[in-house]
Symmetry: D3
Subunit: 316 residues, 6 copies
């Protein structure tokens, strides 16, 4: 199987390495134990059942374990399911690594770093530039690895940086069209707006919410981080700090969406809109990639549960 | 008075030509008749009272009449009001024209036409290009004169074309960032999305809603126009026609905002977002132009009644 | 089994012809294939499982195929399910037809046609009468066959015409009570309001939404059809055409319910209310027919998920 | 002035008797006292100012006083206002009565009584008939005099009975179309549904809400009254009593509209819809009577603030 | 098993008496019948499957039957499930009673009675005191046995009285802080506010909604009961009766939550808030009792589906 | 006039000192300038007009100036208005001070300080106690002077401390009833929850929102302050700090009300409810103080625009 689990069809035979993302133990109606495995490679996920599982199986097949398996794609309640013929844990000699099984941004980390550096270089306001540089330095490693979300959009390695770099490109072009915009402020908002996710989310591979992520959320956490950083840089009280905190605080656009204050500065409004565009295009492009012209995508929860149509005339 | 009515302060003396936009007759608490005039020049509007008005005054001072007046700026219930010292209708020899008193887009019609032509020239899909050309031909005159709305955004001469041309520029850049987008479809949607306003609105100078504008609205009217045009061009039934109708129908994004179907095609979603950005930036830029750094704008009804702050550090 | 699948109880033996409405393939926890069949006759639907299905079964038992089967009614997760003992496809010599297995309106097509003709005959406004006649002619066949919806109300053969004829009767009586109403306008609105469903829905037997149904919806499609028909009849621009389009456009009553403009003409408001009454009475009568006095119906999704009570004192 | 205050135009001279509905004392900017009078005759209402009012004026011109006045119709802030030239209280010898100045239902009390009696005569269920008869007897006088509301619909003498009788006619016809309906239950619901308004509203001429009307509302009050009446008639515990209480309780359709339980019985749902139709037709007919073809009515608050259009082609 | 079904873990062996709360019959994919039992003891509930059930089993194992069973705790789709090894109905000689298997308030009935009596003794307003005494007398038995709800809060034996007594304590303290409050009115409201639940709910052990509970609800039923009681006590028409009815009617706070009138009397507003506090604290305390420090509770439907965190530092 | 401006009636003569809260300049319909003054004493506010005002008047009568005036209470558009007979600025020799004209909490600052100290003394958790002490020290002066809001509740000198102290009393009693509560956490939340208002509001006398108050709001500002304080006290990272930040962040209860995270800790939920009770009781008590038994208060905007009734039987 070379094409990856995201691209298989019912009936395909499978013989490949995969990563266990999640495991649940169950009991059949006959009282026999089995394991439900969520498996993934870099192209997608699939559910698999390991029937008549033993205590040894339960100890071997745990999350973040890589396995080698042979099987076949079946269908169960309208969804694909992998039927396992044989399975074993991967060994050192197999030469496979967790990083081979997770999805990555379509742009290299090196390129992402260059684009970020370039943007910061364009900034002229010293206060804004200093804050941005300080955060980039503090979080460089994580910023280049973290996803931008647990699911829905940019939920892959380097997703956070990929999202920021795309938004910077939009910001740059909109600044040309609307020269009244303060480009430095907009860049600073774009680069920092989601950095709070590094504390809100648990990590890169099997991402969930941290306790402080649940109780505070990435928005207030980042407002707080800017205050602490401003103190450290001895620029607290400068108006740029307040306005930048406002951009972060308001970038979800509405109280119902998690911003206790709505945008009240021009660049804050635009930051919200650019964030929306890049998140939605990322979701749409990935969902439409999976269907053929003339078909609808599955319903996309984060797009108000809409299914999107791929026109036929695009084929030509 | 050279600076224009949009820029006067309380206490300023006025001696200039203005256009009557609206007139209402009233009676004071002492039973004396007066006229309330809404006057405008190319920079803004102001209310004025003509006390002790006569029957002759009522006949002379009617909407779309240009007048010469002298007076002073007062304040009434927190709003500026023009106190009239003397007033007379403009005469032929004054050499003034209605077009001198209406606001215009900041871009010349010639430039707008060029940009439109350029965009159509870029299009490759023959069906989409034919429909767009046909509508441009049918409505060329009005498209270059109509405002994009009665109020809120681009509510000036050539506002409709100005809005379209700005949106085309955004569309072009986003297509570079997201090459999966069908540029022809997006261009066709941008150019046609608001053309129904030409039937929805009554005209260029003192714009209101037509009866069919109120009963049908510009969105269903434009869906209908595309059907009639497709029939005329003998391309009815082609999928491009259906998808283009869908873009028009869904471009307000939600049922509550007037789109009976939400966007269900990638370019429809993006058309909605680009429309939002350009309308909001137009509103914000014009409102912020009127205030000084450190101040808030008046509340903007179409921006959820928010007031926007102009940071002080932008001054430097 | 003579009583029909809509009236069986758990434990009943079944030996009859049925129509396959839908088929899904599944795999048991032991890895054995089976088919889930949705079967129907003219009284209702039931799910059935065909265990250990073969490739031949998959080829034989497909949607719109009539089958002869013997089995028994069981219960599964609170719903009735048909356990199959034996099954075979119907043969020519069985003398059964698809039309025997679909639900039909409780009124004959002939009667429906007469009632429609009668109503049109009552109309005096020539413009409205011409449009109505033209549409009746264009869609006569489908109008008498189509359901009024995929589910919820009048979802049976001739449902659309049955709905229209009931509404005409209400319209007629309300016109007597409120003689200010324009009866011709109201009749035209009633007859045409849902004709767009003929393009929105895929057909009579196994009804689903068409692509244009999903992307445009029956309301804008019918507004468009009236424009095209008016052009064909050379009556475009007459006020009756606009007002009739408004009635169609607004007949769902609110933007959230799919009408981009709310009713703004007296007859439009009434059309909406009459539509509501007939749809609701149809749903309620059919749900209450299935329960005994003293019981509640199942929850009705299209009635805000309410269950309705059938009083005991009605028995007497 | 013969045409009535509801039909005057700006500039008309007035010389007639009118009823004072409300009076407020004010002080001009010069510190002089004046009275703002709300005056009415049987066709409508108008505001009038009595300038330089004396203590005697304040004592003479009080609510429910009839006055003779001469004056002229002016306009103030877009609304008609009566300018008073001379005014005096009516005298016994003038031969005018309060009942001459209030709007009445377009149907005579005698006819309303006959129609009610007829409907009760049609009822066959003895329990329902007994309750209805008992209430008719208890409230006969008020039922024939009370309005159906403070404003919006049927807000005139006998409005309550007029509303009930119109609804009975609709109920009768819908029972013919949907014979499954329990006509007796529906009739009982129609007749009793708003009788609680007799306790909720203060009276017939200058109607406002009573304290118990504000704290309990007519719906719970009527549920309570049925319980007390059932006890008196010794039929408490019969299911008809419960179901009838449910019809009253649920007739506003939704919790947000004042019904703590939504309709859960077929006739309850229909009662709500019939109530809606008659209230809306009453509002619409009266608003459209005041405008000419080609015009819109004023915005109707109780119709979601919509303005309604009167088509031109109705003129013919 | 001594620890009770609410505290077991997967893998635990069970050998104890339990009460059958609910039974459903099912058929496996192999066509074999089985019973799904909902079992409970005084600490909680669990689902159990009785495979290959016979007609005799169906007759023996019915709701409110006590059984003796041996088995083991398994997991099925993320929830605990009891796997039955052996089971038999309890016998007289087992010495077990239904009351052993239902949850009870943590306060004795005797104490609850004393606290109620004490509160009534504190009341000084004779009218309010008489009504309260009359209801306590009428419903004493049920008031001490009924739960306060079917689920969510105080859903155990004596739950209603426990809820009332807790609320009385809060009312007493708030009266000290805000002495303007009318304590008698507040006490009367607290004691009577949920007594309508005795008619709304079917009973103490396997509680569901009665037909009148569904069609009227406990709030209008209690308003009605107060009217009937006031008549019996010959105090109808006294203002205390009206205000008390208002407190009952408005105690859910908003129309959407079942109160057709919102609180419009100070004590009505406070009654609503005290009710909220005691219901929420009851839910929270019971949910948090089940988790360890550092964990979140399950999602609580009646708390807007929130999960609550139990801090670690509480351990110390 | 001894009774204070909050208690005057129309017709009362006034001769007293008052504080100017706000001034607006206007021009009458005759073009004459006047000043609209908002005046206050410790009991309330009133509007006054100073006709024919001079440049000198404009310079003398400015906000925060105390004046001596004689006049009379009139009525204008349903509201009381003060008619000025004579007016002069207060002089040093008059012996009046701004503090005489502002409303104060009904509890002395000394008592408020004692109660606060007492509560902190009760706390046992050292981390929570340290944070609370540090904030009390930092803001002691302002905490004892600031109002709790610009309007609606506790909008008077020491309002913030008065609100906190009342809430502490409720917290203490609820902790007795629900001993599972963590009293220290609840106390810390109560004391700190609104301290952010000291930065959100401009000051004590003529209070408005600061720029950072508008752009960030008191909730995120206080979350940030706790982070900075924790750093200063070297206790950052302790769980108490996180949980306390969560209490502050969530104390408005819902995203729509300004809390980006809802309460997810037991004490956070209770803090929200206690805040609600004390704010509402403060509003209700002050509004009901102004009306007589048998009357309704004015509509209270912050109580969903409800008017509250004061029962007659409270008089006895």
């Amino acid at each position: 199987m070379n094409k990856g689990i995201g691209h298989v069809n019912v009936g395909d035979a499978i013989d490949s390495f995969m990563l266990i993302k999640d495991v649940t133990k169950g009991v059949t109606s006959n009282g026999k134990p089995f394991l439900t495995l969520i498996l993934r490679d870099s192209t997608g996920e699939i559910e698999a059942k390991l029937w008549d599982s033993t205590k040894e199986d339960e100890a071997l097949f745990i999350p973040e374990q890589i396995i080698k398996l042979a099987g076949e794609i079946n269908q169960f309640r309208g969804k694909s399911q992998l039927k396992i013929f044989s399975v074993r844990p991967a060994q050192l000699t197999d030469g496979v690594h967790i990083s081979d099984f997770v999805e990555k941004a379509p742009v290299e980390k090196k390129v992402l770093t260059e684009k970020l550096t370039e943007a910061i270089f364009e900034m002229k306001n010293p206060t804004l530039q200093r804050i941005v540089r300080a955060f980039i330095k503090k979080y460089q490693e994580d910023l280049l690895n973290y996803p931008a979300a647990v699911k829905n959009h940019h939920e892959y390695v380097s997703g956070l940086a990929h999202h920021v770099v795309s938004m910077l490109q939009i910001a740059k072009e909109l600044h040309k069209l609307y020269p009244q915009l303060n480009k430095d402020l907009l860049y600073a908002g774009v680069i920092l707006h989601d950095i709070g996710k590094i504390r809100e989310l648990s990590g890169v591979v099997t991402t969930s919410y941290t306790v402080e992520g649940k109780l505070l959320g990435h928005i207030p956490m980042m407002v707080e981080e800017i205050a602490l950083m401003a103190k450290e840089l001895q620029i607290e009280g400068e108006e740029e700090v307040l306005i930048l905190q406002h951009l972060i605080l308001s970038h979800h656009g509405k109280a119902e969406w998690g911003s206790p204050k709505p945008p009240q500065v021009r660049e804050a409004e635009l930051l919200h809109l650019i964030d929306l565009i890049d998140a939605k295009m990322n979701m749409l492009n990935r969902a439409l990639d999976k269907v053929k012209p003339g078909e609808f995508t599955e319903r996309l929860f984060a797009m108000d549960n809409r299914a999107f149509y791929k026109p036929l005339f695009e084929e030509g």
